[in-house]
């Protein structure tokens, strides 16, 4: 490849208004220096041209995503941006430590609330907030999973507002998705820009499935000699089906639907194979609690398998993640996570929370209603960017309508200040433009004191100018996320 004759100056012509991750004060952030050099040599035309190839690659590889509410079976690509989001080794080291700490505390919290309830007895968290929470699952009271792990896989959503300020926006302790994009984005980047990876400065993420499999097998019931894990998917029309199939294949385990499984008279779980029933020891289920087992949860669910709950309670099979984790990532419980870290680990939290108003509290509710146009309001049980209000972007009518919904059921909401999320350069038709990003690293817990985070993450980017909503169901895109070596 020859040098482009037309000098484009790399990032030098790029002028973001707020805090951008390529900047450090008035200079260039250390992590972006090498990339900036490369871009100066290549020119933005190269990016645009190779980006077209990316689209073809993703489609051919069938890396698609179904959007609910659209016609059944319609598959869409998540828009991919070819400019990587880059973190220095020092930045990552701190994030990693903070994530591990947070996940250990959350696992301890879940174990505690379903057994001895020390944190409630100590008055650190109001008892009603937990025991009356709709995510609290009385069916698993007193249950301890085989290796004490309830949060096998988690995704911690993080935002950044300055070179040194990272905030946890939310914890995902149920079935966080998106990790396949972390891996496929890297795969596509390596195909499109092999020259960028020659220096071996970017830490690899491809071993994630290997770590995931180790995590799953570590949680197997003690009685299982050669434990077998499977991945339980709701099926090909699920929005994350590609990911289910990708992970099963990378781990070399069976991808099963509820109909492939049955619970025998011995309360063990079996899968139907061409050679007859075969026992299953660990189920990485990508299915919500309420669909898991029509005997115990939703009666009309055809997605799960009757008797799974019974088998799990008898420790004949391990469900990853455990049942009942929703009470740990509920938005009304989120404000207490820093206290959990201190209570269970006796440590100072490394990562901060976003300041949060709990509308169940009368004072907070009053304040929020008076400042609605400045705040972001979220449903406590919501996810995927549905059912939320972004005050500064809302019309007067929207604000009024939302205020009515809040008054009708205040405890259903929390509110947070609108953060000035960092931006990253993103390829647009007119050239490079700043767009807001967040970060979702994935943590794997193989024992209550052992958490692994693969050095990478899913970076979601709000592609519309000025937008703060990064969810893929709401028109967000993704970027490859680089962690540089030490």
């Amino acid at each position: 490849m020859t040098e482009t004759t037309k000098a484009t100056g790399g990032l030098s012509g790029y002028a973001p208004a707020g805090y951008d991750e390529t900047a450090n004060g008035n200079g260039r952030a250390e992590a972006y220096k090498a990339y900036d050099d490369w871009l100066s040599r290549q020119g933005i035309e190269t990016l645009a041209q190779r980006n077209k190839q990316a689209d073809v690659l993703f489609r051919r590889m069938g890396i698609t995503f179904a959007v609910y509410g659209e016609q059944t079976g319609v598959e869409r690509l998540i828009p991919f941006d070819p400019i990587p989001r880059i973190l220095s080794n020092a930045e990552w080291t701190r994030l990693e430590a903070g994530i591990c700490q947070r996940v250990r505390a959350l696992n301890a919290f879940l174990q505690d609330v379903y057994t001895t309830r020390d944190i409630l007895k100590a008055g650190v968290i109001p008892e009603d907030l937990i025991l009356k929470n709709s995510e609290y699952t009385a069916e698993v009271e007193g249950f301890t999973p085989p290796n004490g792990v309830r949060v096998h896989i988690s995704g911690i959503d993080i935002v950044r507002t300055s070179p040194s300020d990272f905030f946890v926006l939310e914890d995902n302790l149920r079935c966080p998705s998106g990790v396949s994009y972390m891996m496929e984005n890297r795969e596509v980047m390596m195909r499109l820009f092999p020259d960028l990876f020659k220096a071996r400065a970017v830490l690899p993420v491809n071993h994630y499935p290997h770590e995931l499999k180790k995590t799953l097998l570590a949680s197997a019931p003690e009685t299982a000699e050669n434990p077998r894990a499977v991945l339980l998917t709701p099926g090909i029309y699920n929005s994350a089906y590609f990911e289910h199939s990708f992970l099963a294949s990378e781990m070399g385990i069976e991808l099963v639907t509820g109909q492939d499984l049955f619970v025998g008279d011995d309360d063990c779980v079996y899968m139907r194979t061409i050679d007859g029933p075969e026992k299953v020891d660990v189920i990485y289920r990508r299915l919500d609690d309420r669909f898991l087992d029509p005997e115990t949860f939703r009666k009309d669910s055809l997605l799960g398998c009757p008797g799974l709950y019974r088998a799990a309670m008898k420790k004949n099979v391990t469900l990853a993640n455990a049942i009942g984790n929703g009470v740990g990532d509920d938005k009304s419980v989120y404000p207490f996570v820093p206290q959990m870290v201190e209570f269970y680990l006796g440590e100072k939290p490394i990562l901060s929370n976003v300041p949060t108003y709990t509308l169940a509290k009368a004072d907070d509710c009053k304040y929020v209603l008076e400042h609605l146009n400045e705040l972001v309001v979220k449903e406590t049980h919501g996810s995927g960017g549905y059912g939320m209000l972004i005050g500064p972007k809302a019309s007067k009518a929207e604000l009024e309508a939302f205020a009515e919904r809040i008054k009708a059921n205040p405890s259903n909401y929390i509110a947070q200040p609108t953060l000035a999320l960092s931006t990253c350069p993103t390829l647009q038709a007119e050239g490079l433009a700043p767009r807001h990003v967040d970060l979702r690293p994935y943590a794997l817990m193989s024992a209550p004191d052992k958490v692994t985070v693969v050095p990478g993450a899913l970076t979601r980017v709000a592609l519309r100018e000025g937008s703060l909503v990064v969810n893929s169901s709401q028109g967000g895109g993704t970027k490859d996320t680089w962690v540089l070596g030490a």
């Binding site: 590889m61 069938g62 139907r272 194979t273 050679d275 007859g276």
Partner: protein
Amino acid sequence: MLSRTADNIYWMARLVERAEAAARVLEAAYRMEQLPGAGTGWEPVLTIFGQIEPFRRKGVDMTTKNVFDFMIFDSENPSSIYSCVKSARENARSERSVLPEELFESLNATWIELQGLSYAKVERNGWRDFFEWVKDRTELFRGMAVSMMVCDDAFQFERMGAYLERADTTARLLDVKYHILPPSDDADKGLVDYYQWGEVLRAVGGWQAYRTLYKDVPTPEKIVDMLVFNPVFPRSLRSAYGEIVTSLGALKKESLSLKIAAQEQAYLSTATTKDILKGRPLHDFLTDFVGFTANLSVQIGRDFMV
């Protein structure tokens, strides 16, 4: 291996084979339409695929355009090339975790390209190009399956699906053509027969094979021999059953499917064209064969996919 996986892979292979067969038969018939006086119309083609009644229910004339629309693009016709590729790709998508990556990606690419085609577009570029494209894509799929799949259970179900479908198609094709082309001594019919039987050979990609194996102009009896009993022609009933039996035998479980398939294979290995034509009309033999093959498919389902 999961029973559902076996089922999906088996049907994936059957449907890809069916798309290929549709392309071959349509191409051969389309060629005949261009030879004055040689064509036999579209009814036999629709009969081969069991689609004569569904087509009639459409209430349209049996023109080339309407038949192509129905057999290639119609999403409501489960035997159209469009539907076959769509369902095959969906089955593959369900099982991509057990298939070689390139196998799914290649089928996915075919599906993406097919979605971008329409009657008008293909007509502009020429039908022959289109049929060749379908044959290329489906044969590429078969080739990838053979050269990339591990010879495990998944591979056996892939092979069974492909050859069971192939046996079924060859038998139907022969039945329909033999019915409208009974052997006769009428000299005037000789030339038409020549083209008609040539069409049959083209539809199974067997022109060159016929010349090599029989060193003769096409004659009905020799063509029946090639399509039914020939042990080296890959689309003969005997070859197809040989592959099916090999696959059933490679599975761990001893099954009733294997037993009955092996009996049929033994018959095809020992009988001759003269034997069948002596006892009863070819049509009866082929009707029995198609029925038997359908039952075998049901039995495979009972043995492995419950």
